[in-house]
Symmetry: C2
Subunit: 333 residues, 2 copies
Amino acid sequence: MNANPLRIVFHGQNAAQFRPGMEALIGNRHQIETVDDDLSTDAAVEAFTRADVLIGIRLQVPMPPLHQLRLYHAPAAGTDAIDASLLPPGCSLCNCFGHEQAIAEYVFAALLIGHVPLAQADRDLRQQRWTYWAGAPGALRTELGSQTLGIIGLGHIGQTIAARARAFGMRVHGCNRSAGPADCVDQFWPLDQLDNFMASIDAVVVTLPLLPDTRSLVGARALAALAPHAVLINVGRGPVVDEQALYEALKSRRLNAAIIDTWYRYPSAGQTTAAPAHLDFASLDHVLMTPHMSGWTHGTVRRRQQTLADNIQRLAEGRPLLNLLRGPTPRSN
Amino acid sequence: MNANPLRIVFHGQNAAQFRPGMEALIGNRHQIETVDDDLSTDAAVEAFTRADVLIGIRLQVPMPPLHQLRLYHAPAAGTDAIDASLLPPGCSLCNCFGHEQAIAEYVFAALLIGHVPLAQADRDLRQQRWTYWAGAPGALRTELGSQTLGIIGLGHIGQTIAARARAFGMRVHGCNRSAGPADCVDQFWPLDQLDNFMASIDAVVVTLPLLPDTRSLVGARALAALAPHAVLINVGRGPVVDEQALYEALKSRRLNAAIIDTWYRYPSAGQTTAAPAHLDFASLDHVLMTPHMSGWTHGTVRRRQQTLADNIQRLAEGRPLLNLLRGPTPRSN
């Protein structure tokens, strides 16, 4: 198909990781450039302002104006750091998924390791102690597959976790604004029955994005409704779980354990170290703390590159875009 | 149904763990006793010799004769320590499965933890270092779902692992004497093509029992066929993988990593410590060593109790037994 070449600019360190190998996906017709986060050279500013397609995760005042941009594409799901009011009228805004498989692997690694004490068993057997030997008294372990998993949020991530949970034999309860695909969970609870949902499960995974009505959605009352043995996992956004309520539930041991990947504070640009919260979660030994890593795999990059490439082809050929968050106004095609 | 009460004896420490709660499954009509491994009292010997149903994992000379035994039931899959020639002619020999779900959880805990560096991430973030933060250069991790899993042995365990592997998006290759259920793997290799099978996969799980023709089945040539990044998991029986060949492949780093749950040496009765092999696997840091624990969960006990109860009911009612390894000769029913 005859399509116009585009000026494609990868903006910043995050976007740059999706650059290698793009020619193999979109051919050599397009002009591809990579510019740094700070647009620290005149050439970078020039490339930025003249881009047809910008790939990045941050667009904020006082970045240079975008005169002819037709597509701003986040290589990520979240677009909360992209000020859409800075996009010119003819520009579309799209995002990417493809992280749900990676996040599910993180979730099941964390859940399974709570049932299979591999590290302790290895330490002991290296000293010739057969601590968890089958048949020995007291050696029996618990089983993930015998449990009920609760999932808050039934989007890409929630559904992907649900499918793997069922493969392990788990019962799956979902809590969401809307029911999602009819058969993706065994039992569905609307958000206004969150406390009853929490009381029905052995482990809960929060997968929701941060929106005005999801902030602190999981608060003290919902946490108190969990069973004493329950574990909470947050791979959505930190503040969906109220920080103070989570800290106090853990500190008082009313909450058995938490696995937290999404946080309340993040390093600023250039910072190499930073506390991930206002409260001292690092003082608690029944929390597994990870640095917003759950979705970040080579597979995620590869799947998102495919989405970027598909949409660049679609734009060049005047076909409808995928994962469209905001279309052009007025329509440019 | 009108059925005769039976004298049921749980023999030894292992069997005793299947005793609690049996009345809830088989009712109160039967007489249930538990005796110690050594039959150290006259009462224990008496109960043993008069049993209708014996539940145990070890039957060897010079144990007392079993005059009226109708069913010897292992609460385990393996019956290699049960000398069937000691069973009276009218006696059936049965075994139990129900461990495959637990073993699959062990396998996926061990596989996933190789891709998701939870422990390191936790250690670092507690010191405010965001080592694996999404988007950071060098932070990308690998993904289990992008890989091909090889499974040697396509029985209960192999099929259960295959189903979970597919839920994670893995490609599954199987190597077995016979093909098993047609659709349980994506590609099947007969045992005489073991080396080609080994060359086709990223991780391999050995699930085979120890039989004359499986001993040292996985030897130096098969191990050498694995890719440099491959990992080997043994949850079948230790000697199915040749000890010397495995040790040398690991020692020379031709084999990237191994997760070993089934071993070459086990503690004798009464021993509290014992090396699990003749060679010094504990000196290798790229081996995860666990003490034959993979199948030992509360869920396994519950599922096996159900099999024991089903067969006791069937025996009492004269119906055909499940998991029959050896029937009565001549038929007693």
